[in-house]
Symmetry: C2
Subunit: 329 residues, 2 copies
């Protein structure tokens, strides 16, 4: 939960004067999101989210993220639409930060996802993968193998203080994945798997539901071009484990069934899932570990437990094939 | 900024099933408020604030606070109205906390209050004082002289670590106020000054405006029965000093003019203001100092600087009369 940047009255008025949204009726900081500052903005014409992009988001990536939301919303995907100002610009600046105003999406994120939620998510993700196919911008996945190497290097010295033996485990896992991971799509040595725009961070707090019906996908700030099956592997990690660490195969089956109701997986994708699931677990283990060992005193965000992903990684390492995730072929 | 208690899906559904508010469309934690957890709740019938009362609020006081909001809103004061469930109850429980759903008030709080804001606030506060006159419940001010003694006792040992000499200053100021402070209204030794329900915490973040027009007073969780002029003294402290510590007499004059446009101050109230302003400054100095020396590692709220109120207190100590606040008689 975080609002890093406060906006004063004059700054907000100056920003809104660029748009045709009517008078400001309310502007409240939202205690959600970790990377950016988000405000729920109510104006004479409706409700919006005002996002201020903080340091961890690279400004050069913003046109990709904003353009992607516009593209996907234009295709009817339930995701926020960026609002253009009178000059047609969807990116502005307030309080010294780049910012965007996007449409407000109704719904609440599921604190305890059910199999039904997983199924809805699977089909929405497949729709997103298809809708992104003719999006023209490209953004490589900065948090794939190359990115893991950098994270590993900066965490390795502290890893054993979090859990004895963790450093060796991480190094071993990285070495295995490095040797087996396909090159990025389109690069020499890539794998003939379907690829395109992936969300790359579809955790439950980025997926809204009204009752059990999915109402929105939000927070596209890790979106990039990569293998579709890797996006599915991230979601298997994020949605299908129980609090006690057990993998819930019913949820896995529901997730994949939802996905395949829109886009059937190829045999090669099914075969790649166990490896991709290991990679996804290492990716979140490493970023959480980085945040854990680099805690700033007085920070407004409590870092998440990295060891949750160590446990998930252990599960994926002993998996024999995609059947463990509920995929029978 | 804080949301202390998360609400899970089933808990929210169970709570809302008691009300006739339609389906939940959104429920987002708000990064405002220090004492309680607040959610902006959107349902099929409108927008509301769902407040979960955390430990620092005494459950026995809740009927006073809720009843007061209902009373004041019923008199047309721009403040939240508590929503009754189908059984007529305005207090319920969720996630193990007492909670209330109150109406949503449009407006934004002024980060840089102007004299015009001060004038609007003055008249709204006077209206609130008059509207509360026939509210039948009573709540003594727990943060008056007796309360200060307790706070002082628990901070004195640490005060000099915040600023050398602070402990002696606080003790001396407390002794002076203790000797000169009137007894609470209605008690033996009280003072014939107008009294009734006061808000007691009308800081800028509790007062909403649309443009320069006041749209709402919120957060009645320090409200109590005390002298009206003491409420005015709190607001002189909270609204009329500049960031550099200077008292802005134009704002003071505007505040009092707004107040007196609704309820003229008596001569005795004007005379009491310098003492009440010292007391109000000590009250916030002590509570901020308490929070400062009792910081919890990993807390979600950054404590406010207590020394800001030491500087304000110094100003009030050298004041010769209410003219210093812009009140000429």
């Amino acid at each position: 939960m975080a609002v890093y940047t406060e906006i004063d009255d004059d700054q907000l008025a100056a920003l809104l004067s660029r748009y045709d949204l009517g008078p400001v009726l309310s502007c409240k900081g939202i205690a959600e999101g970790v990377e950016n500052s988000n405000y729920l903005l109510v104006t004479g014409t409706g409700s919006f989210i005002l996002t201020l992009y903080e340091r961890r988001v690279n400004r050069h990536d913003l046109p990709y993220f904003i353009g992607l939301m516009e593209h996907l919303a234009g295709k009817g995907l339930p995701c926020p639409t960026p609002i253009a100002d009178r000059d047609g610009s969807m990116l502005n600046e307030v309080a010294g930060r780049p910012c965007a105003i996007i449409s407000f999406i109704n719904g609440v994120w599921p604190k305890r996802p059910t199999a039904r939620h997983c199924q809805e998510l699977g089909s929405a993700m497949a729709r997103m993968h298809l809708a992104g196919r003719d999006f023209m911008r490209q953004r490589p996945n900065a948090l794939s193998v190359e990115g893991w190497r950098g994270l590993l290097g900066s965490c390795l010295a502290d890893a054993d203080s979090v859990r004895p033996g963790l450093a060796a485990e991480l190094q071993q896992e990285y070495d295995h994945l490095k040797s087996n991971w396909p090159a990025a799509p389109g690069r020499a040595g890539d794998t003939p798997l379907p690829h395109g725009v992936i969300h790359a961070d579809l955790f439950p707090d980025n997926v809204f539901f009204i009752g059990e019906a999915l109402s929105g996908l939000i927070d596209f700030y890790f979106a990039c071009n990569d293998y579709f099956a890797y996006d599915l592997a991230i979601v298997l990690n994020a949605w299908c484990f129980e609090v006690d660490g057990a993998f819930n195969v019913t949820k896995g089956r529901a997730l994949v069934a939802g996905y395949e109701s829109i886009r059937p997986l190829t045999g090669a994708e099914v075969s790649a899932l166990p490896l991709f699931a290991r990679g996804a677990a290492l990716r979140f283990l490493l970023t959480r570990l980085y945040d854990w060992v680099n805690q700033v005193p007085g920070a407004l965000v409590r870092p998440k437990d990295p060891l949750e992903y160590r446990q998930k990684l252990k599960f994926h390492r002993q998996v024999q094939g995609a059947a463990a995730y509920g995929i029978e072929r």
